[in-house]
Amino acid sequence: MLAHLLLVAFFFQPNPTYVISGTVVNRIDGKPLEGVRVSLGAATSETLTTGRDGKFRFEGLKQGKYGLRAERNGFGRQSYRQRSLYANLSTGIVTGEHETTENLVFGLIPESVISGTITDGRGNPVPGLRVLAYPISGVGENRRAVATFRAGISDDRGEYRIPGLPAGSYALVYAGWTTEALPDSTTPSAYPTTYFPGAASASDAGLLRVESGKETRADAIVRPVAAGRVTVKIDAPNPPQRSTVRITTQGPFGTEPWVATIQVFGNQTVVERVPVGRYHFNLLDGEDRPLGRSLVDVGPSGASVTIGSVPFARVVEKVEIQGTPANPSSPTVVRLLSPGMQGNRTLDAEGGAVIPSLPPGPYEIMVIKGSNLAITSVIAEGASVVGGLVHIPETGNVNLTIVANASIAQAVGGRVLRGEKPESGMLVALVPSKNWRNILAYRFDQSDSDGTFNWGAVPPGDYLAFAFEDGDPSDYADANVITGLAAKGQKVTITGDAKQSISVQVTPR
């Protein structure tokens, strides 16, 4: 079931009511969980709290589809049979004459914690140091940060703690250079950015493996290095009264850890005690959008940097829309989304627009005309397209030609079957039968308790369908993985008919 889908109850008979009941357990050890707040989403505002046996029971329910949710400290908020922590896919529960909705086992995935103590190499705690945890996926050279980082900060005992993490591999960055952590010294020094497991250089960074429901310790030693004074000049056409400059450094696996933010009044400022190293000084506008940046090597005697004079890449977008849009009068908006340094950078422009200065990095492309359109292809001149993402270079000219399909706004749905029997909780994937590299065209859902699923807008064409028992969308949204599985795929032709319903057999292991 897709998250955020409004559930509507259908009435076939005037009176019968149904029950949804079960036990909430820890999915790792199977033990019942006490004190879990269980609810049925938007359909009813009732919230139950489980007792020691973990049991819950909702009665007097009308026929329909319900989203069963639970919330508890140490587990966050999860939906029934959610594939992974924070993943959108879960299984809806359908009540009805022949449906099984009682004695459900609602397994919650426990959250993990990364914690540790930061010391200065002489046994003294280092307070006020930010620790950034980046979830990393992929293997070998394809490893990259998949989402925004989570941060902790060391206290006066040097201890930090980052709770609420999904299990997986993490790159940890001890982003130095905080005023509180500055060592007292008669010569300027500061803590440099340090990478788990104690590397001074991002290229030597390792990965921390975090298990589900466990607390993983990652202690660190950061040693002060010489620090210099950096003179910052803003060179923008209309310099604002106050500018924000965010200082970032080169991190492991394509990350760009943010080490400090400074406010500049007027067009010049001085930053004291910058640890020696290489930094990007990013000039931001009032909406936190980067206006320009400069790369600086800071030595013991400091450095001088001018930001804003050299623009980023100039991006010209051309959008071709195939088919007939549902809302022809609504404007076409191209949105480029980047995991960015902190949160998303969203840039809207009318179709065929020019972005005079776009910061470098990987961007996901969305075309919106009333609703989100399916992207058929992206051709980039001056940039590369890898895995459905456009990698914008540091500078230069980029021409993007984007083809989107507007005719099929309808969702395509169906049912997962094992033989004749509906199968719930399956990860249902739809992949174009050609051009597997375009992961923007991939569709995923999880089957509900009656085996039904819904893929969202799918352009007509030939596809391969899968119903996996295990794994996450991120495990399959990869051309190499699909190449290996293609022989097991079920051939499907999407016709563009809104009433089309597809039966997908469980994919053999």
Binding site: R37, S39, G41, A147, G164, E180, P183, S185
Partner: protein
């Protein structure tokens, strides 16, 4: 002559040492830095030493002055500016040319800042004591003792600024997965701890986390669990120690408030929050910045002020609307933000008998330039960001306007040697005593009366420890609150007593108080003054008169 010259040189010191004297004339200063609580040495503290010119340089300079030579300031001999880091045992040492004047300062993170100390003549061994900062920590649990994560805990420090008691949020942190919070590097003293009703877990990773469906909320309370600060127990943070304040919170049925911020498309960084008793309470809020629609989750029944703000650069815009939440969701709330209301006023200058301009050049009061009027926010918790109001320029007719004053309670002041602020009124309100309440409608114009007299009160303060200064407040009887004049004491060199002088005073009955400058007194609060009245020295000043008094220190601590 000699001592005043040394003082002058101290202020013209440059950061370079010129120690090319005969090594036989050098002196050694050594000492140690200890922790006032453990008594052990403090390592890694930076000790800074500033000295006057050496004896040799001094003799040369004196000879030059005697011979009538005029030296430019840049030719004056400079003293030394040295610094050293303490060893593991807290010890430090310096060698420098012999000199009359040595000032020393020490600093270390995790310890309170201390003022610089002047060494007495012949003092060669120095013991410096540092007071460690404190910790406040605790745990927030629900009624069953389960830890609550993501509850915002604020530390509110009562302090006295400009004679008024104000409460500032000095720090805020969310509880972790164990329900724990911790504040460190706290100046020892009293604090209020406040737990904010931010319910649930604010995680987003990969997908968006849907808003809480279980509409339960935890109340916003002060330690040990009361809604009102006046009933709260302040926690005492002690030097180098940790003070605990745990919260046990009971969840309540809560509702949602939906509405729209008007003209949102023209605003940046829109925020919405609920206020109660002038303080923000922590609700989870979702705002669609493109349309201005918002939903506030977890609102328990009650009366609130709904505040919307737009934190644009350079100015902040704010709007407030009262709402009442009953046992159901509330919809259709509309709130408009504006960049504040205009507050106008006028400065009236009463006395004409003495020149009181900044430069003393123009005796005509009509031509007198009055310094700008400053507005000081007394309830900073009311504003979403630390907003500072630019001072309002006073024109030749004495009129001034604060163009964009945001809601809050303000005090007003005019700095500079103008005379005495006799009264500040807005209609019938005594703004000097109570401050001015600014809401969303324009308050009555401010009437500031300034006057300057010809009287002087001088005095001596007894019992002040060496190296310390006193604050002296002179309160002229006038209505309920009186009119305060504040001055600082100074200590002539080689004198054990500290002295003060206040001039340009109007005739009248004065009550005088003195306390160490490290302490603060609520001298604008008549109640607080009444408690001290036994300590006051009273004096009646005639027009143009001069009075001498001796004051004992009022100790406001304990």
């Amino acid at each position: 002559m000699r001592s005043s010259l040394v003082l002058f040189l101290l202020f013209s010191l440059k950061f370079m040492a010129l120690a090319q004297d005969d090594p036989n004339d050098s002196i050694a200063i050594s000492g140690s830095v200890t922790d006032s609580v453990t008594g052990r040495g403090v390592s890694g503290a930076v000790v800074t030493l500033i000295s006057g010119p050496s004896k040799a340089q001094f003799t040369e300079l004196e000879a030059a002055i005697q011979s009538g030579k005029r030296a430019a300031a840049s030719e004056f001999p400079k003293g030394a500016n040295l610094s050293a880091t303490t060893e593991e045992d807290g010890r430090f040492s310096f060698t420098l040319p012999e000199t009359d004047f040595i000032m020393m300062q020490v600093s270390r993170t995790g310890y309170m800042a201390v003022p610089a100390r002047t060494l007495s003549n012949g003092e060669r061994s120095v013991q410096l004591r540092l007071v460690p900062l404190g910790v406040s920590e605790g745990r927030v649990t629900d009624a069953n003792g389960e830890p609550l994560q993501g509850i915002l805990v604020q530390l509110v420090r009562p302090s006295i600024e400009d004679g008024r008691r104000i409460f500032r949020i000095t720090a805020a942190v969310g509880t972790d997965d164990r329900g724990q919070y911790r504040f460190w590097n706290l100046i020892p003293g009293l604090y209020y701890v406040r737990s904010l009703a931010r319910f649930g877990i604010n995680s987003t990773m990969g997908g968006a986390v849907p808003p809480p469906e279980a509409d339960l909320a935890y109340p916003t309370v002060y330690f040990p669990g009361v809604p009102d600060r006046r009933e709260a127990t302040a926690v005492k943070v002690l030097p180098g120690q940790s003070t605990r304040a745990d919260f046990k919170l009971e969840s309540r049925k809560a509702y949602r408030v939906r509405g729209i911020v008007k003209d949102a498309s023209s605003l940046t960084r829109i925020g919405v929050r609920l206020m109660q008793g002038g303080e923000a309470i922590g609700n989870r809020v979702a705002v669609d910045t493109s349309t201005g629609t918002f939903v506030i989750y977890g609102v328990t029944p009650g009366d609130y002020i709904l505040q919307a703000f737009s934190n644009g650069t350079p100015s902040l815009a704010l709007g407030e609307v009262p709402i009442i939440v009953k046992a159901e969701d509330l919809s259709g709330v509309t709130v408009a933000v504006s960049s504040g209301v205009a507050v106008r006023g006028r400065v009236e200058y009463l006395s004409t008998d003495k020149t009181a301009t900044n430069d003393g050049s123009d005796p005509d009061p009509r031509q007198r330039r009055i310094p700008p009027v400053e507005a000081i926010i007394l309830e900073p918790v009311r504003l979403p960001v630390a907003g500072t109001q630019p001072p309002a320029v006073v024109d030749r007719e004495g009129n001034f306007t604060f163009a964009d004053m945001l809601p809050g309670r303000y005090a007003f002041n005019i700095r500079g040697r103008l005379g005495e602020l006799v009264s500040i009124r807005s209609g019938a309100r005594d703004v000097m005593a109570e401050g001015l309440e600014v809401g969303t409608t324009t308050p009555e114009p401010l009437m500031i009366t300034v006057s300057s007299g010809r009287g002087t009160i001088q005095g001596t303060i007894r019992g002040l420890p060496p190296g310390e200064y006193a604050s002296v407040v002179l309160i002229r009887a006038n209505g309920l609150s009186g009119v305060p004049t504040v001055t600082q004491s100074r200590r002539p060199r080689n004198s054990s007593d500290s002295q003060f002088e206040a001039f340009d005073l109007l005739p009248g009955d004065y009550a005088l108080y003195a306390w160490p400058s490290t302490q603060q007194v609520e001298y604008r609060n008549p109640e607080a003054l009444r408690l001290l009245s036994g300590k006051a020295v009273k004096v009646t000043l005639r027009d143009g008169g001069k009075e001498q008094v001796t004051l004992d220190l009022v100790n406001t601590e304990n």
